[in-house]
Symmetry: C2
Subunit: 701 residues, 2 copies
């Protein structure tokens, strides 16, 4: 049994710090839990009261009449640790610590949180919080409101996991205005023990939850989060709002829940890789969740707009194109039928503008025609308050039977005051999500389509996971260095991972270099190979376009002089001679090791795109060829791969393979701190990306 | 008197097509006009009724007891033209044509609209519409609801001009949920006569209007629109939503109001140049308008977030940074004072997180401290429904007196169900705009800051307008061509506009070229100069890096051979020799003539930025140096101007001057259809942008 079971489906709850004092947390919590008619047993604990609101109160934990599934601590911070210890001693192991005063306070609080974690380990406890707002579950067999919230959640199928407790209350409040209905809410607070990831893992198999939404200030165990989310996304959508994206936000977050700062540069790639849909504002996240919770996923991206007003239809059309959806092209047959139903001034193309005279029968007839078309995947239904003969309510009533079993996605926009005739209730009953603005409706639909794609991809994910060979032999020489890695080792390592490198030789004698020249194809590049020298070209330690033995000799002498004079002193210079490729499309692959995220792989197109526009994309390593292909699709300058400006077309499969192999190398070599292939050259001649230069920082730690 | 005066402030209205039949347009219109208690005289015209709803009805136009200020035509389309003619004959010159069935219908309708325009000219009429929804004005001396809308507009100071009538009704309906209050609404419909621009021009001086919002499907006279908007933006903000941004939207728009398709590539630059704030969705436009209508503009971009919950404060902080605002840094003094007021767990940095216990007194004390700080320009006030001791209503009551006269911008976020304790009414009374989500509040504030900057800029605009010398002498030779312009003329034209070009000579003899060589600085570029040849380098008709007479001879012969063999036949090749600049930062300036927008100037950074990323920016020509400077600021790759990648720093003032001069050239030479300076080279050596290559298409028409 998952350890969250007892938190979300408890048979009994001890409320430690229950109170009869109005306005106290203990009283509010008890009131909230009673108001929702919790189906289990409530066991208040308070040494000074015998009964509160008709409930028996127990003076202490050891006096409880039964062992509760769950204990909630509402006490002031100074009593928390002792209480947790008592619970541990009574073998009450599932605890929610509402109390604040821990990690979020700074040093003193961090110490206190460490002690809490020590208790957890000593008694093998499961702790939610501290510094959290609790939990609710609207399942009819549970009906638990353990959140103080005076406003009861509307039941529904959206779960909300929030690092900010207040944002739970806030969303519950705003939910009253719409059809936002919740299955469960979990406030994770400081996440001393139970993480968002574990809650997601539990909710993945919770039948009452169809959509998972997250408010995060930090992702704590990124690779684990990723794996769980990828599994979850096969079954239900996960939407996340990650706060603290900016420096200002990050500063604010660190004093809130003491959240660890996640490196923002990786976050977009990380969420994509995790199958999580990232949103940057609350409204969009919950609007998308409402649509996902109510309607079937669209099979494809072809949509029809049915409207009684032109303007909103045009705004919807603009947004449809923006969001990568498309207006389905209506057949001449259906256009003809529409002409018969609609007045002359109407438009029978998509968007179908029925004009202001359309009543509920018109809506019904048109919707029926459209929903029967096989090539229509979804409908955006727009209702501007009709001037005549009908009300939005009548329209919904007419449409609703059609909507029930058509298997297509229907999203509505209702531009009317939300009075008794607005039909809002009918929309909710019919399971049709409704929005104020056409743009919001289209965005919600587009998120559904986005999730449809993610789900397909994740369901194929067994085939696309790359497992590192953890026993891959590591070279000894690398292990002994903690700065720059020796070039020869790096080049051979690339070769071992099937990454292409140019023909090369490392030598300290001119004779060796000249010998290499005779056996290989000119021109050549000559550079210093001593690993302690990093910025070769800046120092004049790289010479290109060497075609003749004379040029080689002169390059050799020039580099040797500079190196000995300026850098190496008595150390012997080592030379790397390589066949020089004719420059064509320059690519960059890089890797680094992040303290939180582990090995990371980066890809970009060389030169100005990386340097000026930061047009790069990141993933946790390793990635398979398919994920690497998605990285390439994210590059703004990807036209450069398609043969732009007279360049050869880059074979994306081969480039993706190189990225995947490199990511595997990063994953399997924990001694590599940073590594760059820059440039990696694609030329018409070679038809494979070749790593022309490689450098790496390694550690022995 | 502006001709819109009689439309928005009429003393009397004739309603032609008034009816007593329930559900008819004529009845609805009369009901709407009466319900708002119109202050003027209502004069219904209907041959078949003597009185409707207590109003005297007149059988025909010539039987009216007085000449009305305004006539509204509600008749079926087939009666419209005759009625307009009758009105003209009775010298009733201000007419709203509600009736549809004109340009939006296609060919037949276009003809009918032409006849309408002919009548307008014959009788010197002023016509709003056809195919429009009418007008309203909430001014207390007018109280005119001439829109059918059963929902009465909330009075306020936002004017809304809409090409879509239905979007007027829709917004009125949605406005009921917020503090969106209107001064006036004008539905422009097909804009056969009166354009949005004229309505803006009138509202500019309408004291009851503080903010102008626009829904546009087309801009009909762009330069005129621009001039009026620039004048208006000195006084009040203009916000515009331009629908039909995408291909899908454009298609939908053309069947709606028969709108002319505006070229989207210029629209962003055009709105910026016009001082208009462009929004891409309705919600954002009206949210920004609400803030602008209620609060004073922020003096600078330093804001403080005051919140009772951490999460929303972090989300606000992220958005503040995204939107180019900044969190004001609180002094140690004020932080100390805050520490005294707030509990230990609170955060006294910005965002100020007072935590959940904050009651209305805490809000009041903190707001008072913050609003007294001289370096604070604005406050984002966040209220999550407080768990204890206070209601949002009490908080507003406490804050409101402080907000009244502090001269700072205050925007609120109220994350609470909108019940009786929500304080929504108090917020509205206090003139504090309130939003559901912190992100929306910050976006609205950011639009206010954006407008503050626009206003400053436009108020300086007398100094920044460039007036073309329309009498600038035009070369005859240009006039005689209708394809490629001759190179010599173009180069001399650039020189005449103080644009730098390299030293050059055009000659057909090798001797001439060699002579030029002796007198100028090598290396040289040699190319064919015959204007009929466009793609010189592709054809091998451009040779670079010529240093010696031998190289010149060989280049001359090579080009001559190719040109004579492949292109020129018996025509004599002409050569252009130029001093060749060492390539450095490559820029592009271009111009073209748009049928609607007239001369347009474009700027970008050469190479991949233009070709791959379409990183270019447009304006109507001419632009002054300051506007050209703004164009440069819009380039994504502008780091290239700042000395990135070892390049010299480009002097933006000199580059802006070049853009401005080029734009003047475009404006003053209507014979130029298209012209490119590509590349324009900035080198460390020259310290001025030099037009290395120029080509132009000209016409004699």
């Amino acid at each position: 049994m998952h350890r969250l079971q007892s938190f979300l489906y408890p048979q009994s709850i001890a409320v430690i710090g229950a109170s009869r004092k109005d306005g106290s947390l203990g009283k509010m919590f008890l009131t909230a839990i009673q108001r929702m008619n919790y189906k289990g047993d409530i066991l208040p604990v308070n040494p000074k009261a015998e009964s509160i609101d008709g409930l028996n109160v127990y003076p202490s934990i050891d006096k409880l009449p039964q062992k509760p599934d769950l204990a909630v601590i509402l006490l002031p911070q100074k009593f928390v640790l002792n209480t947790v210890e008592e619970l541990g001693q009574s073998d009450i192991r599932n605890i929610i610590v509402i109390s604040a005063g821990f990690k979020e306070l700074g040093q003193e609080g961090i110490e206190r949180e460490k002690q809490l974690i020590a208790l957890k380990e000593r008694f093998n406890l499961n702790i939610l919080g501290p510094n959290c707002m609790g939990i609710f579950n609207t399942h009819k067999d549970v009906l638990l409101n353990g959140t103080f919230s005076p406003t009861l959640p509307q039941p529904g199928h959206i779960a909300y996991i929030s690092q900010s407790g207040a944002l739970g209350v806030a969303i519950l409040e705003l939910a009253q205005q719409t059809d936002l209905g919740f299955s469960a809410f979990v406030s994770t607070g400081n996440k001393a023990d139970i993480s968002d990831t574990e809650v997601i893992e539990f909710l993945k198999d919770d039948n009452n939850t169809h959509v998972i939404t997250l408010y995060l200030e930090s992702v704590d165990y990124p690779p684990h989060f990723m794996n769980i989310c990828r599994e979850t996304a096969k079954i239900k959508p996960v939407l996340a709002l990650k706060a603290g994206r900016t420096k200002s936000g990050l500063k604010a977050a660190s004093s809130h829940t003491g959240a660890l700062a996640n490196p923002e540069y990786i976050m977009d790639g990380f969420f994509k890789q995790s199958g999580v849909i990232r949103k940057n504002n609350l409204q969009e996240m919950f609007e998308a969740a409402r649509a996902l919770a109510k309607q079937p996923l669209p099979k494809d991206n072809r949509t029809v707009v049915i409207t009684n007003a032109g303007g909103p239809g045009i705004l919807a059309s603009d947004m449809i194109e923006d969001e990568g959806l498309q207006l389905a092209e209506l057949t001449p047959q259906i256009q003809k039928k529409l002409t018969e139903i609609l007045p002359e001034e109407a438009s029978v193309k998509n968007p179908i503008d029925m004009i202001a005279g359309a009543d509920h029968k018109t809506y019904e007839q048109v919707a029926e025609l459209v929903l029967n078309e096989e090539y229509v995947d979804s409908v955006i239904l727009i209702i501007v308050k009709p001037p005549v003969q009908t009300t939005p309510k009548e329209i919904v009533d007419a449409i609703s039977p059609l909507a029930q079993n058509c298997g297509k996605t229907i999203i509505a926009t209702l531009m009317a005051a939300k009075d008794n005739n607005s039909g809002l209730k009918q929309f909710i009953d019919a399971g049709i999500p409704v929005f104020d603005y056409p743009e919001s409706a289209v965005k919600a639909l587009s998120t559904m389509w986005q999730y449809q794609n993610i789900q397909q991809r994740m369901r194929k994910s067994d085939a696309i996971v790359v497992t590192p060979h953890s026993d891959y032999p590591q070279t000894n020489e690398l292990k002994q260095n903690n700065t720059q890695a020796p070039v020869r080792e790096l080049l051979e390592m690339l070769r071992a991972y099937s990454l292409e490198i140019p023909a090369y030789r490392i030598d300290n004698s001119l004779d060796g270099l000249l010998d290499f020249m005779q056996k290989h194809k000119r021109p050549f590049a000559l550079k210093i190979a001593n690993q302690e020298i990093v910025h070769k070209s800046d120092l004049g330690l790289l010479q290109l376009n060497i075609n003749t033995p004379e040029q080689m000799t002169s390059a050799f002498n020039a580099i040797k002089d500079i190196a000995k004079r300026d850098i190496l002193g008595n150390n012997e210079p080592q030379f790397l001679v390589q066949e020089q490729l004719s420059p064509s499309v320059e690519l960059v692959i890089g890797g680094k090791r992040d303290p939180q995220f582990g090995p990371i792989v980066m890809a970009g197109i060389g030169g100005v795109f990386v340097e000026i526009l930061k047009d790069v994309t990141f993933r946790l390593a390793p990635v398979n060829v398919s994920e690497a292909g998605m990285m390439l699709q994210e590059l703004k300058a990807q036209a450069m791969l398609n043969g732009a400006r007279g360049n050869p077309v880059v074979d994306r499969r081969k480039l993706s393979f190189a990225i995947s192999q490199f990511s595997l190398l990063m994953a399997e070599h924990p001694e590599i701190i940073e590594m760059d292939l820059n440039p990696l050259i694609w030329s018409a001649e070679n038809q494979v990306p070749v790593a022309v230069d490689v450098r790496a920082t390694v550690t022995t730690k």
